[in-house]
Structures are given as structure tokens and as C-alpha cells.
């Protein structure tokens, strides 16, 4: 008899059943087409890369003007309760008084063919089925979207020092007591409010999170901005599993399924909820703007990008589509 924890094993066995597809006829077709399929020059990639870099420099902060045009929230029955032992977390109720929607996510995540996002295209940023999804209009070239909508990056790869990325999470989240020694400091229950999330991050040992209340955009309400720095590679390498993990969505799941942060990164977290500033369909949303320390040659002002992103999210032109 199977159990819930056995699902990966069950899937693995099922996928390996009847695995005897044969591709001789496909190979024959491919071989026939080789003569009419010229190979690309090895220098093609290098030239393109140089053009891309020039593009980044040229657009710089202009590319940062990513316009967030819509927030599409989707809360499922009972909210995003990923379930912890003895806990029954739920998201904050919507101030609209509308019943919690039970429909699946109304917009599928974007899947750019090569990750590059043309000007004028839209990209749906999200973290998990049922979570809030953000539809973002891309006004300038130079932005890349991770397949599946997990991350928006100002380049084809996320590397120091110039990369900036935007991710989105949604409470409840389990905030580790110590991000370096996360394996033994998992809390029994998740945080469910912006204030709890902020306080838990600030209380982390071996972390340096600091927070401040900020007035947010089109409303007079307050939100939280939390700044935290991930230690360098040498420190992170000595952490549990060589990883620095500030939080997880579900400590009961596959050990691979935990969010962790790269050495040297700076995470600028923007936490909003209906009671404080704005209605995300009742959800408490965490925008995670990830960057690296500034360097003298940086072509991108990542701090400014963070501010622009947030300003655009709450700009008067933004529309909020309730799920």
C-alpha cells in the first residue's frame, strides 16, 4: 500500500514502465535532413553576447522600467495551506468581503521560447499553482524570464555582480530559526502575516535581516521592506548542506523542495497584505528582489530597479484583477 510520502517513488516506477520507444525512423529522418541543415558558426554566440551586453549598458535603468500592469491573484479553497504538523495556517481574509475564489489559476505562466522577453511582451511571474501571479509588461529588451514564470532576470543568466532578479512568494511560509543551521531550526508552524514574517526574519540567528515600515504607492497604508544579506561562499559552504535557507513553503516535503539563497546575494523583500496596504486577493505576498553588492563598473543600479519595480506595482496605472 502506498502512502503520500511514496509518491515520488511511485512516479519513478511508473515512468520507467514500458520504456522501450525506438527511434530508428526518427534518426533516419534527421540524417536525411543534415545536408539541408547548415551548422551555425562558432563565433555567432560570441557576437550575440557582445550585442546583448551593449544592450544592457544602453538600456541600463531604462530597462528597469518594467511595468507591472496587473496582479492576478488566485486563492484556492482554504488558501495556500501547505500544511505543517499541528498547524492550520490560512491567509488573511480579503477586505472586499468576497468569498474566497476556488477556481484554478486563471493565467498560465509565461514560457518564453529562449527566455528572452521582447519589448511589449508580457510575462507572468508566479511561484506555485494557486498563488498570486503577476502579469508584467516588458517595455524594453534585455529582460529574461525563467521558463515557468519563476523569476524575472535582467539578463540571460543570474550571475554576480550585475544581475537583478524578481521572484514572488506567498505566505504562509516556515521561517527557519537559523538560515545557516536550517535543518534543526524549522519552526512548528508557519508565519501567516507580514508582521510575523518580518519579525521571524529579524530574529534569525546568523542572519542580518533588518526591516522598516514604508509608505506604499497609491495608498496611505504601510508595508514592510526587509533587507537581508547572504554570507559569502566560505560561510555558506559550512552551513547545513552547504545552503543558506531563510524559509521554506513546506518542511514536510521532499528535501530538495526548499528555497535557498546564493552566497553574497542581497535580498530586498517587500511584504504586503490587505490589512496594510493593498488587496492581493486576500494573500500576503512577498516580492523578493535579488541582487549582488554594487560594484564600480555595474551597468545596472539594482537598488533603483528594486524601487522602480515596487513603484510600478503600486502605480496609479496598475490594475488589480481579483481572482
Amino acid at each position: 500500500m502506498s502512502t503520500e510520502r511514496d509518491l515520488p517513488r511511485i512516479v519513478q516506477a511508473w515512468l520507467h514502465e514500458d520504456a522501450h520507444e525506438y527511434g530508428d525512423h526518427v534518426l533516419d529522418k534527421v540524417v536525411d535532413l543534415l545536408d539541408s541543415t547548415p551548422q551555425r558558426s562558432p563565433s555567432w554566440l560570441a557576437r550575440t553576447f557582445q550585442v546583448m551586453n551593449a544592450s544592457f549598458v544602453r538600456y541600463g535603468l531604462a530597462a528597469a522600467a518594467v511595468v507591472v500592469i496587473a496582479i492576478i491573484g488566485s486563492q484556492l479553497i482554504g488558501g495556500s495551506n501547505v500544511g505543517g504538523p499541528g498547524s492550520s495556517p490560512s491567509v488573511a481574509p480579503s477586505e472586499t468581503g468576497e468569498p474566497s475564489p476556488s477556481a484554478p489559476v486563471s493565467a498560465e505562466p509565461s514560457i518564453p521560447a529562449d527566455g528572452s522577453l521582447p519589448a511589449g511582451s508580457t510575462f507572468v511571474l508566479w511561484n506555485a499553482p494557486g498563488d498570486v501571479a503577476i502579469t508584467i509588461k516588458i517595455p524594453d529588451p534585455g529582460w529574461f524570464g525563467e521558463e515557468g514564470g519563476g523569476m524575472l532576470v535582467n539578463g540571460p543568466n543570474f550571475n554576480p555582480p550585475d544581475s537583478v532578479a524578481l521572484k514572488v512568494f506567498q505566505l504562509p511560509l516556515y521561517v527557519y530559526g537559523d538560515p545557516c543551521h536550517w535543518s534543526t531550526t524549522t519552526p512548528a508552524a508557519p508565519v501567516t502575516t507580514a508582521a510575523e514574517f518580518t519579525a521571524a526574519l529579524e530574529a534569525q540567528t546568523s542572519g542580518d535581516a533588518t526591516s522598516q515600515n514604508r509608505a506604499w504607492g497609491i495608498t496611505d497604508g504601510l508595508g514592510w521592506e526587509v533587507l537581508l544579506h547572504v554570507p559569502g561562499e566560505a560561510v555558506v559552504a559550512a552551513c547545513d548542506g552547504g545552503q543558506f535557507r531563510s524559509w521554506t513553503s513546506d518542511p514536510q516535503q521532499d528535501p530538495d523542495a526548499r528555497f535557498h539563497q546564493g552566497p553574497g546575494q542581497i535580498h530586498d523583500l517587500w511584504v504586503g497584505e490587505a490589512q496594510l496596504c493593498c488587496d492581493w486577493g486576500g494573500a500576503v505576498v512577498v516580492f523578493d528582489v535579488v541582487r549582488y553588492p554594487a560594484n564600480p563598473d555595474a551597468s545596472v543600479d539594482s537598488s533603483a530597479i528594486a524601487n522602480v519595480l515596487w513603484d510600478e506595482i503600486l502605480s496609479p496605472t496598475a490594475t488589480f484583477e481579483k481572482p
Partner: protein, 189 residues
């Protein structure tokens, strides 16, 4: 640990990078069955899988000179295969019914998987996942790639790959639960 090829395969990659069709054919012949099997499991349609494999192999041939490290051939070729699968899925979606994401966070009875999960249930549940989630599951549990190699193949950070796999399994669990619900309700009447 990156996906690498060694010895003779590396030599074949280098020869194929310089236009040697025989070397490329040898490389492709060693991989075509596995490519079709993987893409069949991602796309759930053999004809689409064969088209994706053909397109991937042609892309590999076309772009091979750009591969800087021949030892990374397999990781790179899997990435092109995944890309071809996405393209085929997109064509199929435009031509047919949409595949919708499941409400994976829906509360579920945790004991439902305690019941027997048969092949048909898995097939139905798997088909209801997004292609992102099917792909990450196939890479991890069919090709048996460690999560670091899954991330490399998808071109995403390791943490993101792990998160995606987590949500994929959670989505499948929700799909199985939803699939079991009508039968359970019918049985209760």
C-alpha cells in the same frame, strides 16, 4: 555535479562540431531512444515526442559548433530537447484543448494516496500538470538526474528547480486526489 560525456563521445562531439555527419549520427543513435522516451513522458503523445526529438536533434546538429565544452554535450542536448518539447506542446495547445494548471493548494485528504494509485490514475493526473511540472518530474525521476543537473538542464538555479519539483509533486498529488474524489463520493451514496 555537471552532466558530462567522456572519452570517445567527447571525440565524437568535437568531430561533429566540425561538420562530421558520421560522428553526429553516432552520437544521435546512442541517444535517440532515450530522447523519445523522455519527450514521450513529458508530452504524453508519441507523435509529438518523435517530432520534438527530430527537432531537437536537428537543433543539436545546427548549434553544435557553439558548444564551448564538448564534455557538457549531454546537459546541453537535454536542454535543447526540453526546448523542443515546449515548442511541440505549444503547437499542440494551439491546435487542441488547453491544459490547465491544477489547484494544487486545494486542501486534500492526506490519506487518499494511501489507497492504491493505478497507472490510469497516474496518467490522468500527470496529463493535468503543466508542461513545466511534467518536465521537471521526468528529468528527475525518469532520467534520474540529480536536482543540480535538472537545474543545469533547465537553465535555472538549483533552488528554483527544487522548488519547481516540489510544486510538481504537490500538483500531482492534488490531481490524484481530485481524480479519486468522484469515485469516493459515488461510493458514499
Amino acid at each position: 555535479m555537471p552532466i558530462t560525456v567522456e572519452g570517445m563521445d567527447t571525440d565524437l562531439v568535437i568531430l561533429a562540431q566540425h561538420g562530421d555527419k558520421g560522428a553526429f549520427t553516432a552520437l544521435a543513435a546512442a541517444r535517440v531512444d532515450r530522447f523519445i522516451a523522455a519527450s514521450h513522458r513529458i508530452l504524453r503523445d508519441l507523435a509529438l515526442a518523435e517530432d520534438a526529438t527530430q527537432q531537437a536533434l536537428l537543433s543539436i546538429w545546427r548549434d553544435l559548433p557553439q558548444l564551448r565544452d564538448p564534455a557538457r554535450f549531454d546537459a546541453w542536448s537535454y536542454r535543447l530537447l526540453v526546448r523542443a518539447c515546449y515548442a511541440e506542446a505549444g503547437r499542440a495547445r494551439r491546435a487542441g484543448p488547453n491544459i490547465h494548471l491544477l489547484p494544487a493548494d486545494e486542501p486534500m485528504a492526506t490519506d487518499r494516496l494511501g489507497e492504491v494509485v493505478d497507472r490510469d490514475q497516474l496518467e490522468r493526473g500527470f496529463r493535468r500538470l503543466s508542461i513545466d511540472h511534467r518536465t521537471v518530474i521526468v528529468l528527475r525521476y525518469f532520467l534520474d538526474l540529480p536536482i543540480e543537473q535538472v537545474a543545469e538542464t533547465l537553465g535555472i538555479p538549483v533552488g528554483t528547480a527544487a522548488s519547481r519539483l516540489h510544486h510538481a509533486i504537490r500538483g500531482l498529488r492534488a490531481a490524484l486526489d481530485a481524480d479519486a474524489r468522484p469515485a469516493k463520493q459515488a461510493g458514499a451514496r
